[in-house]
């Protein structure tokens, strides 16, 4: 069959890089209209939320001299009101303030873990791709093997062995999440290596090391950066799960996970707000970060627009 090239529908099937087929006009017109009108709105609202989160996390604790640990037993378990927009917890601490402090800790853990995981993943992926041969095979097999262990379980194991705390959590999240980055970076390096400018560098006498560092890694950075950004919410998710199980941060330290964990007893007594708001503080930034990362991915690789993420 001759290839029929049409402009319509390119967005839905082009990501596989195979034959472009005509797509039923009806569905494509629908999806285009919807995505164009909502895309800009989505990017700007995501950006606004991320900016608000960063500002809240950076500005509130140092500037506003508020004590999130301050206990007011008289005000315990007040439902949301104007004075306490999120209500108060079982010892009368303001939940909005606790959530902001919790987000600060969770975000710190998430960002550090994502950066460490990305550095490990990029190094391993680039090493495997540029070394090639048996090194590549052995390393990637090991990556396959450790992808077979559920992340949370491996994380629990690492935290258990190194005792709960901020750094064990960061280490456990970082050590369980570099695998996918290593795969992405390796694939990207392999595809970059067949480009003419790399051949030119090699015939110009550049060493393998120089080719990797000067010519291949810079090309990989956008992809690795994207993976790192998408990993931040995932790392926050893992921190909160570990803390919820009582294996993450110490309970007095507000993080999104310990807040939900601490709210359990109030919830069983019928008070929903100490549980609801920390969870929303996980969901909303996650969606915002994913929205921004999606826009960025569309910019660096428009052909993958239809691919799923998160």
């Amino acid at each position: 069959m001759a290839e029929t090239r049409t402009t319509a529908g390119a967005g839905t099937t082009a990501d596989t890089g195979t034959v472009w087929r005509p797509v039923a006009g009806r569905s494509v017109a629908g999806s285009r209209k919807a995505s164009r009108s909502t895309r800009a709105w989505r990017v700007w609202s995501s950006a606004a939320i991320v900016v608000a989160v960063v500002l809240a996390v950076l500005i509130v604790p140092p500037l506003a001299d508020l004590d999130e640990q301050a206990v007011h037993l008289a005000d315990k378990l007040l439902p949301p009101s104007l004075e306490h927009p999120f209500g108060t917890d079982d010892v009368g601490r303001d939940l909005l303030l606790r959530c902001v402090y919790g987000l600060r800790v969770s975000l710190l853990v998430g960002v550090v873990a994502a950066v460490v995981a990305t550095v490990i993943g990029t190094a391993v992926g680039a090493l495997a791709a540029s070394a090639g041969g048996w090194v590549d095979r052995v390393v990637m097999r090991l990556v396959d093997v450790f992808s077979s262990v559920p992340h949370l379980l491996l994380g629990i194991f690492i935290v258990a062995m190194f005792r709960p705390g901020v750094w064990p959590v960061v280490i456990s999240v970082a050590l369980t999440h570099w695998l996918s980055t290593a795969r992405i970076v390796r694939a990207e390096v392999l595809s970059l290596r067949s480009r003419p400018y790399v051949d030119a560098a090699i015939s110009g006498g550049a060493s393998r090391w120089r080719v990797t560092v000067r010519h291949l890694l810079p090309g990989v950075l956008p992809q690795a950066g994207l993976a790192a950004v998408l990993m931040v919410p995932h790392a926050i998710w893992h921190e909160s799960a570990l803390s919820f199980l009582g294996l993450g941060l110490p309970t007095h330290q507000a993080s999104l996970g310990t807040l939900v964990q601490g709210a359990r007893s109030s919830l069983l007594a019928g008070d929903w707000w100490p549980t609801l708001f920390p969870g929303l503080f996980i969901i909303v930034p996650t969606l915002a970060i994913a929205g921004l990362a999606g826009a960025w991915r569309d910019r660096i690789n428009p052909r993958r627009r239809s691919e799923l993420m998160l």
């Binding site: 839905t12 099937t13 087929r21 005509p22 797509v23 039923a24 569905s27 629908g30 999806s31 285009r32 209209k33 919807a34 995505s35 909502t38 097999r141 090991l142 396959d144 093997v145 450790f146 992808s147 077979s148 262990v149 559920p150 992340h151 949370l152 379980l153 491996l154 629990i156 194991f157 690492i158 935290v159 258990a160 062995m161 190194f162 005792r163 919410p233 998710w237 909160s240 799960a241 919820f244 199980l245 009582g246 294996l247 939900v260 709210a263 359990r264 919830l267 069983l268 019928g270 929903w272 549980t275 920390p278 969870g279 996980i282 969901i283 969606l287 994913a290 239809s306 799923l308 998160l310």
Partner: protein, 321 residues
């Protein structure tokens, strides 16, 4: 088919060797000392000779590789060591609990596949339509929501506010025997929450698969022949659209285990999760090592199952390929 299973079993051997060795290596690198953990407070006062004797008895004075090898050979004979927290052999501890975990995870998985496929097909029918937008945004939101948080909110709504379902456990506190009816009633909420936490992924992938398939030649051909929309959607688009989903089903097993761990904790389900958390808080190494190995086996089985399903669903795929 037998050849595929055999090959996968052969591949599982190095994987399990590497994972268990990794587990032992992490334990070796950690500050955790099994002798002190075993002796507890008595370890603070006992003499160095006693501690050394204990070290030899526990077999932890040997180098990493030989300890790992001893554990491995014993495990092959069904002896996974003794759990220090549960005060029983690890194999028994896991055997008692794994059935309940599998029941929960399997129910939730089936539920997620059924509901997810239905919603995915509905959303794919008119991309960009209101139903599609609702389903997609809901899916992204649920995907970002931690399962334990969903579980707690479900407990609040269904057990506390509406009072229609029990909040947790396997049976009512007053009942002595474990009856099927009781278990079924207590299973509804945790299974539903676990299914909801796994749902978004199915919805989004089925929507993508069916949406792409709707533009393919066979579907256009079916439309051109004047077949009913229902037939086109379910018999042609759904079937080919599900194929890419099936290959990825296996990759969901780790997520399923992760979700089950959290949901079980919320609902005090007597499965593996409680044992895992307990083992982790008191650093019960034999139990943790066995659980990690078990989870790896579950993931490998999931991959195998996905491949078998793919071969059954798509006659073009041979089992020997």
């Amino acid at each position: 088919m037998a050849r595929l299973v055999g090959r996968r079993a052969l591949f599982a051997v190095p994987v399990l060797l590497a994972v268990t060795f990794g587990v032992f290596a992490v334990a070796e690198a950690s500050p955790f000392d099994p002798v002190k953990a075993y002796a507890g407070t008595a370890g603070l006062t006992s003499s160095q000779e006693n501690l050394d004797q204990l070290r030899a008895n526990l077999g932890v004075d040997k180098p990493l590789v030989s300890r790992w090898w001893d554990w491995l050979t014993a495990a092959l004979h069904g002896d996974l060591g003794d759990s220090s927290t549960l005060r029983q052999p690890v194999a028994d501890a896991i055997g008692e609990r794994v059935g309940w975990s599998v029941l929960l995870a399997a129910t939730a998985f089936v539920l997620a596949v059924l509901v997810g496929s239905a919603l995915g097909v509905l959303a794919a029918r008119r991309p960009g339509g209101w139903l599609d937008r609702c389903v997609t945004s809901l899916a992204y939101t649920l995907e970002a929501a931690p399962p334990f948080w969903l579980g707690l909110l479900a407990v609040w709504l269904f057990a506390l506010k509406l009072g229609v379902l029990p909040a947790g456990g396997l049976t009512d506190t007053s009942s002595v025997a474990v009856t099927a009816g009781q278990v079924a009633r207590h299973l509804v909420l945790p299974a539903a929450v676990l299914a909801v936490s796994q749902l978004p992924w199915f919805v989004l992938y089925v929507r993508q698969g069916v949406g792409d398939a709707l533009g393919d030649d066979p579907v256009r051909g079916a439309r051109a022949r004047g077949l009913a929309e229902r037939t086109v959607l379910l018999k042609h688009a759904f079937r080919s659209g599900m194929l890419p989903v099936l290959t990825l089903v296996g990759s969901r097993v780790p997520e399923l285990i992760t979700g089950a761990l959290l949901v079980e904790t919320v609902f005090s389900w007597p499965g593996i999760a409680a044992a895992t958390v307990q083992a982790a808080t008191s650093v019960d190494f034999p139990l943790l090592a066995a659980l990690t190995a078990l989870a790896t086996v579950a993931v490998l089985l999931g991959n195998l199952l996905a491949d078998l399903l793919y071969g059954l669903a798509d006659p073009r795929v041979g089992f020997d390929g």
